[in-house]
Amino acid sequence: MLTLLFRSFIRSTGVKIGLGFLLTAGLVSLLVGRQFLDRQHRHHREVVAAQQADLRQLAEFNSKEMGLMLYYAPFALVNETLPLAGLSIGQRDVNPSIQRLTIRGLEGQKYDADLNNPSNLLLGNIDFSFVLIYLFPLLIIAFTYSVVSEERENGTWRVVAVQSRNLMGFIAQLFAVRLAVVLGLLVLLLGGGVAVLGLPLDAPFWLFAATAVLYVLGWFGICFWVASLHRPSSTNAVLLITTWLGLLVVVPAAVNQYLLTRYPLPEALATTVKQRRGYHEKWDMPQAPTVAKFYAHYPQFKHYPLPNTSFNWLWYYAMQQMGDDESARESGELRQKLYQREAASRQFGLWLPSVHAQLRLNDLARSGLGNQVRFLDETTRFHERLRLYFYPKIFEEYPVKAENWDQHFVETFADRSPIRVADFLLPPLLFALLLAGLGWLNFRRHLYHL
């Protein structure tokens, strides 16, 4: 009987067109992901090659002064790009995955971004997560808006109801057939992802797949519930499209607006201004107070005396340091607010399947805001390590040639923040079960009503 239901469903032209369209969109998304990963890997290779070459060249040109050498010398930190990021690009297209820093003031360098074509950013990427989160629901709606209601409208239901020994089971089978087809497509695309993007079949991948499946189940829950309301197909269609618009466009926009208002970031501008003033105004001030503050920050460097010259590197890097130190409060608040925004969106995600799926897929792909903020934190630590390593060498005028520049490899940040499986699976599972349960109750009430 399932076979016959499946045949009846799949033979419809609309179903074939819908499946073909989504399959095409899915394959395009995999190619988009492939391109993205290729670009990331190319940048990584280029940066690795450039760092060795740059350092050698700079060491040759600035061989006399360690301070001058480090004025120019860039050191790169790479935010590791997982193959999964090819499925869910998240914010990786806006936020750079590579930071190239000198040991000068950090705040002035930390938020540098790549050049992007703004119209590309506006349109966003057609990555797999877009196809899953935005397009799959449309297909699910198209497949299910008229289940049962259409049979009632054209009269099949009367015969079905009289014939069937288990009408609830029959309704379940109608949905099961559609669910199987949609999940089949999802599995096909994920399989394609494994082939095209070289995804390893590790725990994050399976969790990614499970999250995607539960998102689909959530939409089936919504459709099942709407079908159970015993309304005409046309009303179902309007209800479902409205839900789609609400869950995917209106509510996320509203949530975003709320987050922007609730956690505004005036600190972003304030940090820049403070950092610049903190550094630049020191040029017009006596050297000693600046250096005293520097000593207070790093007591371990107190034994390097301030040279009695109009310019010296201890004073210069102390000025740079003051830019960071004096904007530290604003910088900390900025970071704090970013974390708060992230935490607040997670709260919303508990209730909104669309937001949940987007956030969690980005979590697994390490491409979300959380990853970016942790990368910035790691950038700060990386920068601090460089400073602590090079400050003594600058202050004691260590010969540039004596430093083994080749040992300064490009470092990679691998985000290993913990992942709790329950956070990923429980909210959408409960959402789907709740709607399925409510739908079940409704159906039971109206089962034999014509």
Binding site: M1, L4, L5, R7, S8, F9, R11, S12, N154, G155, T156, R158, V159, V160, A161, V162, Q163, S164, R165, F170, Y448, H449, L450
Partner: protein, 235 residues
């Protein structure tokens, strides 16, 4: 087999008006073919829907094989087969698949040969068996509907103007089929506008008007024209 006991249905919207079905009392024994005649809105389809359990009676009982429909909807439906005025099936499945589908819904497993035999018995020509239902005429769909009813081997058959889409030849074959079923012990309730066919196949005829069964008579006493005269007088 089929029994209506003071069966009354009043639709909520028309509470002040007359009931759609007013205290219907009726017994149809196994092997009997009871034809309900009456104008549109006389209560024929309401009667059938009450037996099918699609409607809940306001008072009284619809009883099938000794079981009250309102209390045992599943059990009573198992004993029923039903043929609506317009049979709507799955357009993407062919005739054989539709029959197979609806038979399995009722829990029956038939071999393809048995299914073909049922379709042929219902009067559907063999070359149509494997064509998609979407290409069928109304009469052909009706025949698949008949085959579905046959496949259920029900003790009672409810027919709601079953011949309305059939050409005279098919209607004639259908009458023969009904007589066959009647002879083999199926209780049949048929709502119809077709006085002559009612006279031909029915063992008894009831005439309904405004929700009431106003006249019941056996058919063997009457000629078709007498019956028509009675009908026209009554309604």
């Amino acid at each position: 087999m089929l029994q209506a006991l003071d069966l009354t249905k009043r639709y909520p919207s028309g509470a002040s008006e007359r009931p759609a079905l007013d205290a219907l009392n009726l017994t149809i024994a196994p092997g009997e073919i009871f034809c309900l005649l009456g104008q549109n809105g006389a209560g024929k389809t309401t009667t059938i829907n009450l037996f099918l359990g699609f409607l809940q009676p306001t008072s009284g009982q619809a009883v099938i094989d000794g079981l009250n429909v309102a209390d045992h909807p599943l059990e009573t439906r198992k004993r029923l087969a039903y043929l609506p005025e317009t049979v709507m099936l799955y357009p993407n499945l062919n005739g054989l698949e539709n029959l197979n589908f609806f038979a399995s819904l009722a829990g029956f497993r038939y071999t393809p040969d048995e299914l073909r035999h049922l379709l042929t018995r219902a009067g559907l020509q063999a070359e149509a068996h494997l064509k998609r239902l979407g290409t069928y005429s109304k009469g052909m769909r009706q025949k698949v509907g008949i085959a579905i009813a046959l496949a259920k081997q029900a003790k009672a058959l409810l027919l709601d103007e079953p011949t309305s889409g059939l050409d005279p030849k098919a209607a004639n074959e259908f009458s023969d089929l009904l007589l066959d079923l009647g002879n083999s012990g199926t209780a049949i309730l048929m709502a119809t506008h077709d006085i002559f066919r009612a006279k031909e196949v029915g063992t008894r005829i009831g005439i309904m008007r405004e929700g009431r069964l106003v006249e019941t008579m056996p058919t063997n006493d009457l000629t078709a024209s007498e019956l028509e005269a009675v009908y026209l007088q009554t309604v």
